[in-house]
Symmetry: C2
Subunit: 366 residues, 2 copies
DNA sequence: TTGTACGCGTTATCAA
DNA sequence: TTGATAACGCGTACAA
């Protein structure tokens, strides 16, 4: 086996493991082969001044030939940090969450971190299990968005325990104020106001709201924004125009129930000329039902949805939405976490970063 | 500090670290505190018969009190396996890929593995970098789908090197036959035939194809299926009816170009009564353009798309599609990988599992 | 300039 | 029944 390093020097190494190398080569292998000590190899590879040029060249040539790479696990154990973070989200087949992951991943690659993804599936138990299996040394910190079940049960002990063990958490979108950690949220209240103001200034007098039950914090805030914005515009909120969908209905007929509820809402309130929905799917479904009932969009009825996703852009008519900037949220969350991890002194001051929503006007509004 | 284990025994432990425990507790801490050796603690916690009941109870009580959990990194180093796999996909904000991840994650949780996700972003370099940063001991194996750029450049050295180092790979969807590894693919050829047969039996005489350039293997196979199915139905393929979109156009105006091309296609061929598109977006866009040109769907024109996603289910009219069963593909890929990792003897026989497509009929066909 | 010893946290083997 | 030791792979302080 001949390895030519320069025009001048040529090293000859006998093949040091007659069977094909299947296991990764370690410092130990190299040391044995070149008949030096492990630490010499280690130093040589890190170009230490302690080692002679000759030895360094020889070692580096050998290492390159056998494609030596330091073992990450050993480094993690030694350094007491893994350069890996855990991301727990309720669902991945979802435009917003996958955008967040994309943002996290982008920053992680940039700053040399790996990302372990865990799905809670909106279940409290899975959220706990996922966190426990990762909190045993596998990762340096968490980025997460709380599952609906956890929000509903209001059991947050696993977050507090994790934080107490010195593992930082950054929460995004679905957060709990009481937990001491950094947070990245969207301005749900302000977003709602933007939407309602838009509808009002476009001439809407009877704006319906399609939202979720109140235990999902974002739903509650968006509802609150709707109420406040109406008041600010001198419009008295009408309970008749508010539809609270139970989104725990993960049953087969979830969509049917949704459609029926919306149909009833529109039928019972013929004067509805605007709909504000707290997510894209509710908005899409509203448009579908409205058209079925003979309403033209946006002439008879204008629709705005929270959460900008693929559906909004490709529906007919295309949907006016509030973008949450999911990727930006992910990037921000990642930066907060990495900064905290790399900051030596423990900082007990936690930030909450608010990402502004953006009204993206499309065909469903005038 | 009193810890009551049973009605009979009560242990009293003095708080062994007066400041609040921030670092995770280790065997060493426990050993020191209880004044026994580390190995005694280790054995006691694993309920070894070597250790006396008394000691076991005491150690276990203490461990529970301080919430001891073995450090995963140390175990990984010792066992030479991490129980973690790497998943490299081109894009995560994509229904199919996120379904695959969901499938992988489900099996991983079930079998006690963690999942590190890396995004290649369709770039060769990022694919290589992602693989290199993970192949240094962080994971036990890969599941991946090849980036378009890699397919285009046909440079597969990183796959071969990884496999040669004894790290197994399972490829899904976008695979290369020549690489020695397990594979999970969809029957693109057969799926296309199902679609074409459906359109033909529904009365279509002039079926257009909207596909990608040939270097994406799935696009090529789907095109081939279209051709063969037409022949089998006694219809001569017409080059005029085939539109090959260059999907490397990631530019802002990508969608515009797509729309224009499709509009031209339909204008130039007024007799088109069926469109088969190799993905959901192309199919949706076709419907949109067709309606703009005054065609009724499905009366004048029937449309089928490959890849079943959110768009198909919520468009108006809803779209008939071929489902790839992304979640099932992910589950299968994960099982193949875990089985191989847990099988002691090296098995040089690689499987290719073909997942059947399913035609999901909706409103865009009669 | 090179090598020895130690520690990261764990388990397994062997000795006491 | 318990404990000392070695090993997994690495980096570094210190000794030679």
């Amino acid at each position: 086996m001949v390895f030519r390093k320069t025009a001048i020097k040529t090293y000859e190494f006998h093949i040091f493991d007659s069977k094909i190398m299947k296991r990764k080569v370690t410092l130990k292998h190299i040391a044995k082969e070149l008949d030096v000590s492990i630490s010499t190899v280690s130093k040589a590879l890190r170009n230490s001044v302690e080692i002679s040029e000759d030895t360094k060249e020889k070692v580096q040539a050998f290492a390159k030939l056998y494609n030596y790479k330091p073992n990450n696990i050993a480094l993690s154990l030694k350094n007491r940090k893994t350069k890996t973070i855990g991301v727990i989200i309720p669902e991945i087949v979802h435009y917003f969450f996958s955008m967040v992951i994309r943002g996290i991943e982008r920053i992680a690659l940039e700053r040399g971190y790996n990302v372990i993804v865990g799905l809670s599936n909106e279940s409290f138990d899975k959220e706990v299990i996922n966190m426990e299996t990762l909190a045993n040394g596998s990762i340096d910190g968490f980025i997460l968005s709380i599952s609906k079940e956890t929000l509903f049960q209001q059991d947050y002990h696993h977050f507090n325990e994790t934080i107490n063990q010195g593992m930082p958490i950054v929460m995004f979108d679905r957060v709990i104020n009481e937990i001491p950690c950094d947070k990245v949220i969207v301005d749900d209240l302000d977003g709602s106001k933007k939407a309602i103001n838009k509808l009002v200034s476009n001439g809407c007098k009877n704006i319906a709201l399609i939202t979720t039950k109140d235990y999902v914090s974002v739903g509650r805030l968006r509802t609150q924004g709707y109420m406040e914005a109406l008041s600010e515009n001198g419009i008295a909120p009408n309970a008749e125009l508010i539809l609270k969908v139970d989104d725990k209905l993960e049953a087969e007929n979830h969509l049917d129930v949704l459609e029926q509820s919306i149909e009833q809402l529109i039928r019972n309130n013929a004067t509805i000329d605007g709909i504000y929905a707290v997510n894209e799917l509710y908005a899409m479904t509203s448009m579908k039902v409205a058209r079925k009932l003979g309403k033209n969009i946006p002439e008879d009825l204008q629709v705005i949805g929270f959460t900008d996703g693929v559906l909004s852009r490709h529906s007919s008519p295309t949907l006016t939405t509030l973008s949450q900037h999911g990727q930006q949220m992910g990037e921000k969350a990642a930066e907060l976490l990495f900064d905290r991890l790399e900051n030596e002194e423990e900082n007990e001051i936690y930030q909450t970063i608010v990402i502004n929503t953006e009204l993206i006007e499309r065909e469903s509004t005038k």
